[in-house]
């Protein structure tokens, strides 16, 4: 009944919000604001309710256990949590230098009329469907990395689809998000500061380094925003991560799993088990909390350090 009321009342709510826009503008606008806040609140509440059975049964152990054994109804998401951390770490290590490179290339190196084109290409990288990245990772990037890594170091990479593959693919996908924030800060370096840097005889490279230090808050903010993206990315990661959801591993050259890809890969058959749906919702709850925490940090850093 609750859900019914929720869905049915949504329509009069939106109509009322629109109506109020004409009559009492500010209250109409506030209703739209309340809508978004309510959505987030409801989402968290919903996940708590759905995850409750397994948290009531296992307590926090569900987040600290490594086994994923549907037959025994024993679920732990630690291996997925580790996978999320490892893929994000690989992705961030590769993405941050690239994002800095994008910001400097656009603002310092390229001639003015090419800047817009290059910027558009970076934006397009962010708009591309994630499933197409997954397709490319599955048939091109994975096999290429597999043979490349194994030529450099014999037999380190056990299969084309590993945590490392997922990390590299993620790095490509999240670079534009970090780059966007850094570019925004870079463009805000005051003209007098820039003139002062060149006045003391700095080369263009030295100037770029000084300016990057000047916008370090934006770099940190971009880092956290991109990290949030990396942790939540689902489809592309699920396609290349290897789908090893039972065995715990900390070797990035082995198949693994992340929380979001665990949900994507296991949910379709979760309904056949008693506690799997709650366990997956517990994973989603964890993702939500991570997402909120990381974004809160990122937004705080960027707002504190606004030039």
């Amino acid at each position: 009944m609750l859900g019914f009321l929720l869905v049915v009342l949504l329509i009069p709510y939106l109509i009322a919000a629109y109506g109020l826009l004409f009559v009492k503008l500010r209250w109409g606008l506030r209703l739209f604001g309340a809508f978004i806040v309510a959505t987030i609140g409801l989402l968290t509440a919903m996940f708590l309710v759905e995850a409750y059975p397994i948290i009531a049964r296992d307590g926090v152990a569900v987040f600290l256990q490594t086994g994923w054994d549907p037959v025994r109804e024993s679920y732990g998401v630690l291996q997925a949590l580790t996978g999320t951390v490892l893929t994000s770490a690989v992705a961030m290590a590769l993405a941050m230098p690239m994002a800095l490179g994008v910001a400097v290339t656009i603002n310092e190196i390229l001639p003015t009329r090419w800047r817009g084109v290059f910027g558009s290409l970076v934006d397009l990288t962010a708009t591309m469907p994630t499933v197409i990245y997954g397709l490319w990772g599955l048939f091109v990037l994975g096999p290429t990395l597999h043979s490349l890594v194994n030529t450099l170091a014999r037999d380190t990479m056990t299969s084309p689809y590993t945590l490392f593959t997922a990390g590299v693919l993620l790095a490509i996908m999240i670079t534009p998000y970090a780059a966007a924030v850094i570019r925004e800060g870079y463009a805000l370096v005051p003209k007098p500061v820039e003139e002062a840097i060149y006045a003391v005889g700095a080369t263009r490279f030295e100037a770029a380094l000084i300016k990057l230090r000047y916008v370090k808050n934006y770099i940190l903010g971009g880092f956290f925003l991109a990290l949030g993206r990396a942790m939540g990315e689902t489809v592309a990661v699920a396609m290349v991560v290897g789908g090893n959801f039972s065995r715990f591993t900390t070797n990035i050259f082995e198949s693994g799993i992340t929380i979001s890809s665990l949900i994507a890969l296991q949910f379709p058959n979760a309904a056949s088990y008693q506690y799997m749906v709650p366990a997956l919702f517990a994973g989603a709850l964890l993702l939500t909390l991570f997402g909120v925490a990381i974004n809160a940090v990122a937004i705080y850093i960027i707002q504190r350090g606004q030039i």
């Binding site: 800095l100 469907p129 048939f139």
Partner: protein
């Protein structure tokens, strides 16, 4: 060695470091966009070949997807589903996102507006699969009563109109196009809202005062006069947001679910990204080929929207 000579050497060293450093930055920058060309090239080379092999463009755009034992097939149901859900999701996303953006962009002195802004900032970065899972949870909670009290009587009342209407309105399955559209709209709302907000926030104060001075009511000032100043940015936001949700897969996994046939929208609905996700992971060569063909079609749609947005914006 004279001091002058020494200074010259140091300058030479600095110049070398300068070029090396700038070169490194340029290399990293190029490395960030190079995969884009590799991906687009890969998708079009294999995709166009696949479309030709699976029975030509027209058949590919309208036909049913190939079973593992067929030689030809298409993505007709997927295209229909993607268009329907994207259109609904984008409409709802703009309808809610725009006023929300005005609120958090114009009423910055209100405390609640800042709460809402934080909410939008969190929501825009949310893992998309979480949004899908949320809509799934609401749907499974609401479906039974919704069908019992609202949709069953409604579909009986409108059944004289004709059979076609039952494809759009009727008792819902657990997975349906409307849940998919709802999930897509939740992803689009914060996107549109943030760009609208920053466009409104960048309006110069004199223009704002002029708008309030001639507009009479606040509604007219905000939505009629000032809208003109930001319409370009908002249009770009709407187009880019549409391109974004057209390619989303994760939120549709548990809401639209996917389908192989032209089903009614009240049941499981196919979508192009869902088909790519499913077919690419099958072991059958013909389905993998159709995944590449579908990727080429999806990429064409998204590139078209993106280029329109760039030219107009």
């Amino acid at each position: 060695m004279t001091a002058e000579r020494k200074a010259k050497d140091i300058t030479a060293v600095r110049m070398v470091i300068n070029w090396l450093g700038l070169g490194l930055f340029a290399l990293l920058g190029v490395a960030a966009v190079a995969p884009l060309f590799l991906i687009i090239g890969d998708v079009y080379i294999k995709g166009i070949d696949a479309i030709n092999r699976l029975g030509g463009l027209w058949h590919f755009l309208t036909g049913l997807p190939p079973t593992p034992y067929e030689e030809s097939g298409g993505i007709g149901p997927m295209l229909v589903g993607t268009f329907y859900m994207t259109a609904l999701g984008a409409l709802l996303g703009i309808a809610v996102g725009f006023p929300l953006g005005v609120y958090i962009g114009e009423m910055r002195r209100e405390k609640f507006a800042n709460v809402a802004r934080a909410g939008v900032n969190v929501l825009v970065e949310f893992p998309t699969i979480v949004v899908g899972l949320f809509v799934y949870a609401v749907m499974s909670l609401a479906k039974e009563d919704l069908n019992l009290y609202l949709l069953d009587p409604l579909s009986r009342a409108i059944s004289p109109v004709g059979g076609w209407i039952t494809r759009f309105i009727g008792p819902l399955d657990g997975y349906n196009a409307y849940a998919g559209a709802a999930a897509l709209s939740i992803i689009m709302i914060p996107y549109v809202a943030l760009i609208t907000a920053s466009a409104y926030a960048s309006i110069e104060q004199p223009l704002r005062e002029a708008a309030y001075a001639i507009g009479g009511r606040e509604f007219n000032a905000l939505f009629v006069v000032l809208r003109k100043a930001v319409s370009r940015a908002v249009l770009t936001a709407a187009l880019l947001g549409t391109a974004k949700i057209a390619g989303e897969t994760a939120p549709l996994l548990f809401t639209a679910f996917g389908n192989f046939y032209y089903g009614p929208f009240t049941g499981p609905t196919a979508a192009v990204p869902l088909w790519i996700w499913y077919a690419a992971q099958t072991p059958y060569e013909v389905q993998i080929a159709s995944a590449y063909g579908a990727a080429a079609v999806l990429l064409t749609i998204i590139l078209t929207i993106f280029i329109i947005a760039r030219i107009r914006g």
